[in-house]
Amino acid sequence: MDLLTGIFITPFAEMIGLPDLFFQALWDGFVSGTLYGLIALGFVLIFKASGVFNFAQPILVVLAALALISFYKMGVPAWISVVLVLIMFYGLAWLIERLILRKLVNTDGNILFMSTVALSFIIIGAAQWIFGGRPSSMIHKELGIPTGSFEWPMFGGGVYFDLLDISAAVVAVILIVCLGLFFSRTKIGRGLRAVADDHQAALSVGISLNQIWVIVWFVAGVVALVTGIFWGARSDVSFALQIIGFKALPVLIIGGFTSVPGAIVGGLMIGIGEKIFEIYWGPLLGSGVEGWFAYFIALGFLLFKPQGLFGDKIIERV
């Protein structure tokens, strides 16, 4: 009986009883959710365009953050450092296309996947060699991203807003809107959608797969940089940061591997869901719920809706 009340009554009573706390949990969840969504977005972009699950995406986040800090430490102004990182990522995208994708086009998806596993370890090795392995702190203040927090009175209590979180959410929204416009309106964006849909047909109307792949990997790099700046600002920048990259996996399973809106909605669902669950149902199950909640939900999706909320249903003719 106690258990049932604990599951079905107490949490909701608390939500209604302390609305400010509930709202705080929602907000915190929303912020983590946008960042999960951003990481997932990097995966989705590459998966759509080249059908590869890019294992190296999380390490790109770390690489972006480390490179940014290193350029700044070398005395380059913060914003110029950002530009330098972007140039570096364009070069990297070009190299990856030249050395890996072009050679492996038309091979099995597993081969491409394994090549991204290899790629991620090469990047880890190279990054450790160049930037060293010590954690360092993000230069978000130097980039002009506001920090500090304020309390907003609400529902008789108060809700804390971190300025960094607000900027992260705003930047995430701007990035997503820009990507949306890019995909739907520009020539390159349309070409990208065409490649995502059918390689042969795209080639036959004059779209170069190679060019599109470079652009996609570059865009994924841009997303990685933004993610790296904001995740790096919340904790230190180190190779451990790549672990959050794997939070994107359940997000992808829920949202669908091929859907940009799916990445965002999936991210928000995981972010908000795990916060709420941790706070209201966590005590029943002991702590650490936040660690496995996302995977638990993902497992449910795999069993009952394997294509995710927005993904393409894959029907194979037998």
Binding site: K187, R193, A194, D197, D198, Q200, A201, L203, S204, G206
Partner: protein, 260 residues
């Protein structure tokens, strides 16, 4: 073909294509003249689609030359071939299934689009004019092929015959000089075949597009084509007008399955 002057648009010379030990095309040569409808026929596995893929750049023959508009063509990728004014459709329909009919047709304009990236992003200024211009051309093609009623339908859910027509519309949107059709009537009923034949003739006559097509149905080929190439087991069997080809003994043997 009414005009008497016969200008060669494309010429393939001594094409040899192998996949490992399998010989797909062996020493095949023929030409395509400007403004004609050229058919490539032959039994299954004769190398017809391979031939189209060679012209289109999907396959690169080990030996042989392709001459296009009087110049020898270097080895090209399909997207580069598309830029030279060659469009195609596929045997197994390669449409962008996630897009609507009009969006699919618009992708055919990809090459004609300029690169004013930021105007496109903001949908402002020259980008709007351009978009309107291309859109108008696409709508004309859609009207022409009588697929107006499915303009906004996602193509994945359309019946087979209509998908084939959307694919043709996309190829036409590229305003090609040479149009390659890989079995444009496969899997269609008699009525759909008649429609498609009519469209192919109209495209040829009204737009002046040169067409090379692969088809199984002999009756259709005889009605449509100006000249016919017959392939069998990757080799040239005959080349000539439909009448000539029809009365060629080795063609009759190949089609009726006489022991070789």
């Amino acid at each position: 073909m009414s005009s008497e002057q016969k200008k060669v648009m494309m010429e393939v010379k001594n094409i040899n294509l192998r996949f490992g030990g399998v010989i797909a095309i062996q020493d095949v040569s023929f030409d395509i003249q400007e403004g004609e409808i050229r058919a490539i026929i032959g039994p299954n596995g004769a190398g017809k689609s391979s031939m189209l893929n060679v012209i289109n750049g999907f396959y690169h023959p080990q030996e042989g030359e392709i001459w296009f508009r009087g110049e020898k063509r270097p080895s090209m990728e399909p997207y580069e071939v598309a830029k030279t004014g060659i469009a195609r459709t596929f045997q197994n329909i390669a449409l962008f299934k996630g897009m609507t009919t009009i969006e699919n047709v618009m992708t055919g304009r990809q090459l004609q689009m300029s690169k004013n990236f930021f105007w496109q992003l903001l949908r402002y200024g020259p980008a709007i004019e351009e978009e309107v211009k291309h859109r108008k051309r696409c709508e004309e093609i859609i009207d022409f092929l009588e697929i107006n009623h499915i303009r906004k339908s996602p193509v994945g859910s359309l019946p087979y015959g209509l998908q084939k027509r959307v694919e043709l519309a996309r190829a036409l949107a590229m305003e090609p000089d040479l149009l390659l059709l890989d079995e444009p009537m496969a899997g269609m009923n008699v009525e759909e075949k008649q429609d498609m034949s009519r469209f192919i003739i109209d495209v040829n006559e009204e737009f002046g597009t040169t067409i090379a097509l692969i088809e199984h149905d002999m009756a259709v080929v005889m009605d449509l084509a100006d000249r016919v190439v017959v392939l069998d087991y990757g080799k040239m069997l005959a080349d000539g007008t439909p009448k000539e080809v029809q009365s060629n003994q080795s063609v009759i043997d190949a089609y009726l399955g006489v022991a070789h």
